[in-house]
């Protein structure tokens, strides 16, 4: 992931990646920090991480995207290089109202990467194009 994150989140993710290791346990003070910054979204995101809801989807071309299985059972798409999620909360709270920085799916993606709890899936180039286009979510746009 090369998306530019707020320094503070980068610090926390770095700490999580450095301290978790095999145990996959996030230290209490880092959990506190996450909750401090993201409020209730942090808990929801950690829940998604616990349920292994984040999948890194790659194709032979090398293009990558993240799929997050939301708590409602709907699958959302998060981009690898910039903050974009196809969920309605991202459109509303992040884009429209600018009152949150990330949705829980993007946060869960960053946390899954930091804790090494991302699932992996390989698809064809054409299938990845379909995910990037997110055709099934067109009506929400």
């Amino acid at each position: 992931m090369t998306a530019t994150l707020p320094t503070v989140l980068e610090e926390i993710l770095g700490e999580i990646a450095a301290t978790c290791g095999e145990a996959s346990e996030v230290p209490d003070e880092l959990l506190l920090a996450l909750k401090f910054i993201f409020g209730p979204s942090a808990i929801q995101a950690l829940d998604l991480v616990d349920r292994r809801s984040v999948t890194r989807v790659s194709s032979p071309s090398g293009r990558t995207i993240y799929q997050v299985l939301g708590s409602s059972g709907k699958v959302y798409v998060c981009f690898a290089s910039c903050h974009y999620c196809s969920c309605p909360a991202f459109a509303f709270s992040v884009l429209r109202k600018s009152d949150s920085l990330l949705c829980k799916h993007l946060l869960a993606t960053y946390l899954s990467l930091a804790t090494g709890l991302c699932q992996d899936l390989s698809v064809s180039n054409e299938q990845l194009s379909g995910l990037l286009l997110a055709e099934e979510d067109q009506e929400q746009a």
Binding site: L9, C82, Y84, S86, A91, L101, N125, L132, Q140
Partner: protein
């Protein structure tokens, strides 16, 4: 937000204590956060309590990023237009976005600048240049014909693509990775506003902008030498419909570096060397209310471009700072 649980809002003192604890106990990298928190004013603290740390971090970051943004746009443009400099190479190394948004009224030279960038990138011996627009141009920008005629091989490296609708543009960007034999060195989109006019949704706008950034990032990863991204947009009018200003805000999330182009007033253009066919003034801004820097760009008959900074005090006489090589 569906969750109604209250935000975690400890007192300022307690927060500083927690952060000081992190700073001491975990890593030296916490120090910048601790010091920026200790500099919070009371009003910033209230924002902090209300909106959480993320918002106040953005608040603190805004002032310094405005100063950085002031230079970033022009540097990005100079990088795109300097042969051999390598488009976006530096940006890739730091993981920063390499995109640049050019804003301006019709006739302010956005397309001419895109062509200049296309010709420069095409002459660098790297991948092809993708020039995407809704329709083919009626006429070529000044200086471009001569520059292209001088080196027809350059022209062959510029691939023109004309998706006629937003949907087809999204399809083009989504599937670009499938068949790019050689990763492009530059991705240009002329007139993103023409596509955004089809929608009023913030999500659709973000989807398009994110696809552009993600596509350029993908090609940057492929080539190792970077793929630049340059997008033009018609500048917002005075009385702006709400939907369009929201779209600009959303775009700037993904393309935070932007340049405003203004056509040089005729009397100022007259002060330029006679062989310049056209001058553009680039007004660089990093947001409303922030100081702006002005730059003048001039295109000669051969497509050569000269850039000079217009100092604030002597803005009536940009020629004073123009290329020293001009005779007379």
């Amino acid at each position: 937000m569906e969750d109604t649980a209250p935000h975690y809002t400890p007192s300022l003192e307690k927060s500083r204590g927690i952060i000081a604890h992190w700073g001491a106990g975990l890593d030296k990298r916490w120090a910048p956060l601790a010091s920026s928190l200790s500099e919070l004013s009371l009003s910033q603290w209230n924002v902090f309590k209300r909106e959480g740390l993320a918002q106040s971090n953005a608040l603190i970051g805004r002032v310094s990023s405005a100063e950085r943004g002031l230079r970033a746009g022009m540097e990005a443009l100079q990088q795109l237009l300097s042969p051999g400099a390598g488009v976006g190479r530096e940006g890739c190394a730091t993981g920063e976005g390499t995109g640049l948004l050019l804003l301006g009224e019709p006739g302010s030279g956005k397309t001419a600048l895109l062509f200049a960038a296309a010709l420069v990138a095409a002459g660098e011996g790297r991948g092809p240049v993708l020039f995407v627009a809704r329709r083919a141009l009626q006429s070529l920008p000044p200086g471009w014909k001569a520059g292209a005629a001088r080196d027809p091989l350059k022209l062959q490296k510029i691939h023109f693509l004309y998706p006629p609708s937003l949907r087809e543009l999204l399809q083009l960007l989504s599937s670009m990775h499938e068949r790019a034999a050689q990763p492009p060195s530059l991705l240009l989109l002329d007139g993103i506003d023409e596509y955004l006019a089809e929608t009023s949704g913030a999500q659709a706008c973000a989807h398009l902008a994110a696809l552009l950034v993600d596509t350029a990032a993908h090609f940057s990863g492929c080539s190792g030498s970077g793929c630049g991204l340059l997008v033009t947009m018609r500048g917002p009018a005075e009385a702006e419909p709400e939907a369009a200003s929201l779209q600009l805000t959303v775009l700037q999330r993904y393309l935070p570096t932007c340049l405003w182009l203004e056509l040089e007033p005729p009397d100022l253009a007259a002060a330029w060397p006679q062989d310049s066919e056209q001058c553009f003034r680039a007004r660089l801004s990093s947001g409303p209310g922030f100081p702006k820097q002005e730059w003048s760009l001039s295109f000669g008959h051969d497509g050569e471009m000269a850039i000079s900074q217009v100092s604030c005090q002597a803005s009536q006489h940009p020629s004073q700072k123009a290329e020293p090589s001009s005779p007379s």
